[in-house]
Each structure stands twice: as C-alpha cells, then as structure tokens.
C-alpha cells in the first residue's frame, strides 16, 4: 500500500520536471512550424540578404538585416557600457572593498536588477534622451544610443556579480605569490587575478550579450520602431524584439505572412541566444576544470 503511494508521488514529481522539457519542445515546435509557413512564402536568400524589412507596408520586403543591425548596435552600446563598469566594480568589490562596505554596496547594486524593464524604458526616453540631446547634435527623440546606454546600466549587476564570483574562485595562493613578489594590490588584481579568472569573466560578458540581445521593452520604448540598416547610434533603429512587440500591438491577420514574420524574427532571436548561452556553458565547464 505504502509502496504504491510512494510511486504515485514520484510519478507526479517526475511529471512536473518533464514540464520544463515540454516547454522547450513547445518553443521549438511553435517557432519552427510557424516560420516554416513564412519560409514557404519568402525565400531564405531574401530573408538573409535583402537590406529592407517592410512587411507592414504595401511594398513588402523581408530582409532581416535591418533588424539584426538594430539589435547588434544597441547590444554593442550596452556591452561597451556594462563591461568596463561591471569588471571594475567586480575587482573593486572583491579585491579592495572592506567586507562591511561590500555588504552594503552589493544589495544596492542588485536593486538595479530588480527594476522592471519597462521602467528602464521610461528612464531612457524621458531622462537619458533629453540629456543626450543637450550636447549631441542631430540625435533623434528615438535613438540607439540612449536605449543602449540604459540597457548597459541594467546589465551591470549581472556582469559585476558573475565576474566577482569568478575572481573570488581564484585560489588564494596566487594572490599571496603576487604580493610576495612585491606587487601592489592593483598589479595583483589586473595582472594575476583578472587573467586567471578570464574565462569566468568571459562567461559573464557572453551572458550579458545574450541578455541585451533578448531585451525588449527598453528598445521598444526608446530606440524606436523604424527598421534601419545603420550603425549611427544617433538614429532610430528597430531591434528583433521591438519588431515582435510592434506587430503584437497592431491588428495583423492570423495566418498571414505578416503574422508569421514575428515567428521568423523569433527563431532568429532564439538561435542567437541559444548559441550564446551554450558558449557560456562550455566556457564555464572549462573554467571549473581549471581550478578543480
């Protein structure tokens, strides 16, 4: 009697775990089956190489490049903001700050990660963009720079806390050897500890990139909704994610090619983040072996 009950419980628990697998299967199935219909109507060559994306206009063109460049540009700006700051913060907190200061500063930084992204969008549009307009000529009210900068601030905690973990994992003996040779704290940090933790820091950067590529609300609000093949940060650009939101807000007929564009855009996004995530898993495993 009891044994049967035990088995039922285990079955229920295993089923719950299976739901996560079903989620993955569901995501892949939905993306593939709907993009299948899209690619039946639009040649893959046009999708990858056409330089215009105008599915919602009368003259329809389906080149993903403008959305990709928009995604790349905002991500690049975010990473250029978050990586230097995040790594300096990580080094400071792990090598310089006293334990007490560290315990005060870290939770405050974590607050940055708890703020909903739509709120960052508001911040980018109403505070950062007017500020940038005050000294950069020719910058639009929607622009890649403002969205990228704010996205960068948003991912600082991700990069700093993962990098700090990597720095923390470097064995003490390396630090002591360096101090023993008469190196300063700064030299030890940047010539010994950071290089030793480099693959862990890389992991944090890659996850930061993946996060920026998938971020939606900041770019939908502050970068605009204008597919634009440009690398000028002052211009309005549309990212893959912002396009999906734009179509979802409008009235696009279910089953039409226009409707399916969001799944074609979605599968592109999914592939990019999937590759980035797995690159980070691979690097992390390599890193763990190093100091095992």
């Amino acid at each position: 009697m009891k044994r049967k009950g035990e088995r039922i419980v285990e079955g229920v628990l295993a089923f719950s775990a299976l739901v996560t697998v079903l989620t993955t299967v569901g995501i892949i199935w939905v993306l593939v089956s709907e993009s299948w219909g899209f690619f039946a109507a639009v040649p893959l060559k046009d999708f990858l190489f056409d330089t215009e994306w105008t599915p919602l206009f009368a003259q329809k063109r389906y080149g993903i490049l403008p959305l990709l460049s928009g995604t790349l540009l905002t991500t690049l700006i975010a990473i250029l903001t978050a990586v230097p700051l995040g790594i300096v913060i990580a080094v400071y907190l792990s090598e310089y700050a006293s334990k007490k200061l560290r315990n005060t500063l870290k939770p405050l930084l974590e607050v940055l990660a708890a703020v909903p992204t739509v709120v960052y969008g508001f911040f980018a549009l109403t505070v950062v963009t007017p500020f940038l307009q005050s000294f950069i000529p020719g910058i639009g009210s929607f622009n890649a720079l403002s969205a990228g900068l704010v996205m960068g601030i948003m991912i600082i905690p991700l990069i700093s806390s993962l990098s700090e973990d990597a720095l923390y994992a470097v064995p003490r003996s390396l630090r002591e050897a360096s101090y023993g040779m008469g190196a300063t704290r700064f030299q030890t940090a940047f010539k010994v500890i950071v290089p030793a933790a480099s693959s862990g820091i890389m992991v944090s950067i890659i996850l930061g990139i993946a996060r920026a590529v998938g971020e939606t609300m900041v770019v939908a609000i502050a970068a605009g909704q204008q597919p634009n093949l440009t690398f000028d940060p002052r211009e309005s650009v549309e990212t893959i994610t912002a396009y999906i939101v734009q179509v979802s807000l409008g009235d696009v007929e279910h089953g039409s090619v226009e409707y399916r564009t969001i799944f074609a855009a979605g599968i592109t996004l999914f592939i990019i983040t999937f590759l980035l995530n797995n690159l980070s898993f691979w690097l992390r495993r390599k890193f763990q072996q190093k100091y095992a």
Binding site: V9, T20, V111, A114, A220, F270
Partner: protein
Amino acid sequence: MRDMDRNRIIDNAFRYVGLFCTALGIIVLAVFLGDILITGLTRIDWSFLTSLPSRRAARAGILTAWTGTAWILGLTALIAIPLGVCAGIYLQEYGARSRFARIIEVNIANLAGVPSVIYGLLGLQIFVRTLHMGNSLLAGAFTLALLILPTIIVATREALKAVPATLREASYGMGATRWQTIRHQVLPAASGGILTGIILALSRAVGETAPLIVIGALAYVPFVAESPLDEFTVLPIQIFNWVSRPQEAFLVNAAAAIIVLLAITFIMNGIAVYLRNRWQKKVSW
C-alpha cells in the same frame, strides 16, 4: 624608486575609481527614482487608483491595471509554485544521477536564457490559439508561469541541497519512507529558502511586459476582470501605453503608475531578503 611610487599612486587611485564606478550605478538609480517621484507622486491619489482608463489623461486611472496585475500574480503563483517545487524536489531528491535528470538540468539552464518575448510567442500559439484560452488572464498566467519555472526550480534545489544529510539519515533510520522523509523533514527545513526563491520569481513576473503584449493583453480594458477567462491589462502594459503617447500629461500618469509598480516590486524583494536573512540566522548547520 620612481616606478614604485607610480605603482603606489595607481593602486590608491584605483580605490577611488572603483568606488566611483560602483557608486555610479547606484547614483544613476537614485537620480532616476528621484525624477520619477517628483514627476509622479503628485498624481497619485485615491481616484487615480480607483478610476478606469480614459482618453483624457487627467481622468485616467489604474484600477484595471493593478487588479489585472493582482490576478496575474495570483494565478501565476497557483500554476508555477506546485510545478516548480515538485520539479525541484524530483531533480534534487530522486533523479540526482539519472540520465533523465541530467537532460532536464541542461534543459533548464537553456530555458533560463530564452528571452521573455519568445515565451510570449509560445503562449500565443499554445495557450491563446491551440487551447482556445483567448487573450485571457489564464493564458497570461500560464505563459508567465513557464517563464519563471526555471527560477523556482533552481531556488528549490539550492534550498534542498543546503539541508544536511544527517537529517535525512535520522528519518530513514526511524523507518520513514523517502517521501515521508521529504515531506516531514526535508521540506520544512528548506521552506525558508524555497519561499525566498518563489517571491523573487513572482516579483519578476509582476514586472514582465513583453510576453503579455505578445499574447495579446490589451492596453485599454474598460472593466475590472472578474474571472480568469476575462481579457486584461497589467501595470507594465499600462505604463508602456502611456509612455508611447506624445502628450506630457500621459508621461506624468506613467510616472505615477511606475511608482505603484516599483512599490510592489520592492516590497516583494524586501520580503524575500528579510526571509532569507531570518532563515540564515535561524538555521545554522
């Protein structure tokens, strides 16, 4: 000798550079919160919280938005907590070394990295269309539940992992079965950590916008939802809608709604931190 002086200066300078960079993020956050408070605080009053949306900014309120958020929060919790905790228990206590568990583990790590907007596409096709839930609260809650499931599972596993083996062995020694041991010994001991993880995951769900826009949550809902099958809006979507309008008055409304949203998020995070600290203090093994 000059080299040594220079190195010492760089070393001391970095102490300030580091402090400055760390403070920078916090200062930006403070400036931003200050700006929002100054813009929005005067707009918050009783009628703002109890009015329906309106085309005129001065009359518009967030009644449908915050009740929608409350609905979504409750329904998402009902779906995600049992699933997440059960899956976490299975992976940590039962399948630790089996192949099935390994596959699920890799899978969860991958799911955690999927952008939230993709979960919206999943929800749109599965819950809204295939299962005919329409643009309902239920479809939104299922979508968000799947989104936060990895977070709850990981938190549950971490909390279970922290429970010492001696507790389990003592229970087995008394003749308890595996499930009895988990149910009466391990789960109560891990409950603080699990609860912290659940609250953090739910606070993330409260702030999510993109997946709900994709499944068709509306910006303009002129009634308060009364059943899980009703159409809905939530605070983040209402904020997004107001931010997208050119009129200054709507930006003030957006700031006011942000204050309410941030209050909810920060309170939830505060509770989570409080629980974690208390749990860590009480349990010392």
